[in-house]
């Protein structure tokens, strides 16, 4: 099996999909001839033709409207938003349109679209190339939100997302594009090739949306994470020598509540980790659900380790990033509580 980076895995997913289904088209800013600013669509235009993989004007709302219109026609568009930070102009088309079309038309019209967008920080992108806005979309009924943490999942989940009949926001942690970043930014960079999840079949496979993965089994405390933070959580557990169970949500909506509840009932303790700003983040929802389902099993308050409630600063990136030190401290606090 070939070893792929997350970029290659995403590229392979789109290649497989474009080959399989003539109703799939891929578009976005710079995705055509150039292959995308992160190279995720590299070579796809050449292979599948300009009318299947093409550049768009710089208008995120226009891109999403195009996707909704194409979806209503019967195509399955994959639209790229160049950075998650630039999805805001498209909010209305996403929230008021894509998410509600099936409902408001009594099921007659649907928007089977996928919106791909690089998310998260760790590349010195400053506040407009580092955001993690997933909580905004998880609050919108009618949208599914997926955030993979490794190449294997990225490909399988992207294929499932495109085959899903509902609109899916697919956030790609950009710091994971080229390697499994664990938050130790001062240690040597690791390539995906040294990670088991970089073994990615060349052909078709899919991973069902709405199913979490246990990234690490453990019994002392449950860590709920997704995207880059899965690797940070794993590293924290190792560094601290804590027998943590790390759940990789993969899909944050619909949420795999069963896996979460089973784990917390087992461990009795829970830490929620995300890179997004804290207040109003998806961590609040997770905590609400955990205390609702596992109240009588909880032995300590559930902690959150998150980005601070500030814009993502350029120079102070590593003071902002919720790295393994902060996650480790939270794990210890929860165990000692």
């Amino acid at each position: 099996m070939p070893s792929m980076t997350m970029i290659q895995a995403l590229n392979s997913a789109m290649d497989v999909l474009l080959t399989k289904d003539p109703d799939i088209v891929v578009f976005g800013q710079d995705v055509g001839y150039f292959g995308g600013v992160f190279r995720c669509t590299d070579g796809l235009q050449k292979k599948h033709g300009v009318s299947r993989v093409f550049d768009t004007p710089i208008a995120e709302a226009g891109i999403l409207a195009t996707a909704v219109g194409m979806g209503a026609y019967g195509l399955r568009p994959i639209a790229e938003i160049q950075f998650a930070d630039y999805i805001y102009p498209a909010t209305d088309q996403l929230i008021s349109e894509a998410a509600r079309l099936r409902y408001r038309s009594g099921g007659e019209f649907t928007a089977p679209i996928v919106v791909r967008a690089p998310t998260g920080g760790g590349i010195f992108g400053g506040q407009t190339h580092s955001q993690s806005p997933e909580a905004l979309f998880a609050h919108v009924c009618g949208l599914k939100t997926v955030i993979p943490s490794n190449p294997y999942d990225a490909k399988g989940l992207l294929i499932a997302a495109v085959e899903d009949d509902d609109p899916v926001i697919f956030f790609e942690p950009k710091r994971l594009y080229n390697g499994p970043f664990d938050g130790f930014h001062d240690r040597p960079v690791k390539p995906w090739s040294q990670h088991a999840a970089s073994e990615v079949p060349e052909g078709y496979y899919s991973i069902p949306l709405g199913q979490a993965a246990i990234a690490r089994e453990g019994s002392a405390v449950t860590v709920i994470a997704y995207g880059t933070m899965v690797h940070v959580a794993l590293a924290s557990a190792e560094e601290e020598g804590i027998d943590a169970e790390v759940i990789d949500l993969r899909t944050i909506l619909p949420l795999d509540i069963d896996t979460i509840v089973a784990s917390v009932k087992k461990t009795g303790r829970c830490v929620v980790v995300h890179e997004a700003t804290r207040t109003g983040g998806f961590g609040g929802e997770l905590i609400a659900l955990v205390q609702e389902h596992c109240f009588y099993h909880l032995e300590a308050p559930i902690e959150r380790v998150t980005g601070w409630d500030t814009p993502y600063p350029h120079a102070l990136e590593w003071d902002y990033f919720p790295g393994p030190k902060r996650v480790g401290a939270a794990l210890r606090r929860v165990l000692e509580a």
Binding site: T66, A72, P89, Q93, S96, K144, G210
Partner: protein
């Protein structure tokens, strides 16, 4: 030079309640003045059409000039019938709202020709992306009034399961896209649909409508941009009915340029048409459809018309415009004008018209009787609360199932 130092200009209509109407500034050009150009015209060549006003019916009710679509009397009578049905439907549903049978209604009185003329000129399977004021499209396509009424009444047979505000119709079968409450969004979606059709080498085209007020939304700009860039087979219609709730068209930018001119700057051939002249609306729509089907791309059409009624049942226009404005609109009433034309050309009589009106109102009354038998918003059969959780997603996830249980279903 109008002014010598910057000061904030706030556009204002010439007259407000208390004063009488005044359309003296508006000098509509005579019918037949502008010629119908070849369909492969450039945007620059279309400029006089975008600044001017295409009109076919003259003051005497004759069809004149090269834009005359030369429709046979049957089609014209069909158009008249659709307009009359639309008007009767509007009146009846407005009354139903006043009687408490539903919460809300929106009429298109005075603008019937905009929708009916277009529907007559398009093919039945062309895809429509309307606003809430093109009920005439559905009616012209022969969609059952009962079905529309069930939507308005949010009753047990409402295909939208009581979810949508009245008049937000949707019919895939009729090629009528689900109406959105969020102004403008459908305009750029129509371009996406048209791009998909072009991608599939489908001969169907898309047509979209937007109010002049809503042209200020970004979606309007995205529609023009994407349509121009990808040469999408789409007809983009701006319905300039002079008012956006209480704001006159100057607030949308109508003081400085016509709405049709917006398209020229994108390289899109654009036309302004007398929206109360069904023949003119038909002609420019047919021209635009021919362009789209020939692979020549988008056309922008501004329909110059007037919103005779209130914005909606929640509105009272006498609070912000002279009460006598509607009846003095210089371009008349679309029903009267088409009727006049048919009469002048010897294809219509007073008696026929009366019969038409009686028949239409009987049809509407019968339809409402049937629709009401399926319930109204406040009475009779209604959708089950359990359905509220359907169609959020194709398959219901656990959290919605649980919430449905919480509600007791």
């Amino acid at each position: 030079m109008p002014s010598t130092s910057p000061s904030l200009h706030i556009p204002e209509p010439k007259h407000r309640p208390g004063a009488s109407h005044d359309f003296s500034d508006m000098r509509p050009p005579p019918a037949g003045l502008l010629d119908r150009p070849a369909i492969d015209i450039s945007a620059g060549q279309a400029e006089p059409l975008a600044r001017g006003l295409v009109r076919v019916l003259n003051e005497q009710g004759e069809a004149v000039g090269s834009w005359d679509p030369k429709l046979d009397p049957d089609r014209l009578r069909g158009g008249l019938k659709s307009m009359l049905t639309t008007r009767a439907y509007d009146d009846r549903m407005m009354r139903a709202q006043r009687q408490g049978k539903t919460s809300f209604y929106m009429k298109c009185t005075g603008e019937e020709a905009v929708a009916v003329g277009a529907a007559l000129a398009l093919r039945p399977d062309d895809m429509l992306f309307p606003t809430y004021r093109q009920q005439g499209l559905l009616i012209t396509r022969g969609w059952p009034l009962v079905d529309m009424m069930c939507q308005v009444l949010s009753n047990s047979r409402d295909r939208m399961k009581g979810r949508q505000l009245p008049v937000f119709y949707s019919s895939k079968e009729a090629g009528f896209f689900s109406i959105s409450g969020n102004l403008g969004t459908q305009f750029s979606q129509a371009v996406g649909w048209a791009m998909a059709a072009a991608y599939k080498k489908d001969s169907r085209i898309a047509a979209a409508w937007i109010g002049e007020g809503a042209t200020a939304e970004g979606d309007f700009h995205h529609a023009l941009t994407f349509a121009a860039v990808y040469n999408a087979p789409v007809i983009l219609n701006v319905v300039n009915n002079q008012w956006a709730i209480s704001s006159f068209q100057g607030i949308a930018g109508g003081e400085k340029a016509t709405f049709a001119s917006r398209g020229i700057g994108f390289g899109i051939p654009s036309i302004r048409v007398d929206g109360n002249d069904l023949l003119a609306v038909h002609a420019v729509t047919a021209w635009a459809a021919e362009r789209a089907r020939a692979g020549l791309g988008p056309t922008l059409i501004e329909h110059f018309t007037y919103r005779q009624a209130a914005h909606s049942t929640s509105d009272d226009p006498t609070r912000y415009r002279p009460a006598d404005e509607p009846e003095h609109w210089p371009l008349g009433d679309p029903v009267d004008r088409l009727r006049g034309h048919l009469t002048v050309s010897g294809h219509w009589s007073e008696a026929q018209h009366e019969a038409f009106i009686t028949e239409t109102s009987e049809e509407v009354r019968a339809a409402l009787r049937e629709a009401e038998s399926y319930g109204t918003l406040t009475d009779g059969p209604s959708v089950s609360p359990a359905t509220m959780f359907d169609d959020v997603f194709k398959e219901m996830p656990w959290h919605l199932r649980r919430q449905r249980q919480e509600l007791g279903y």
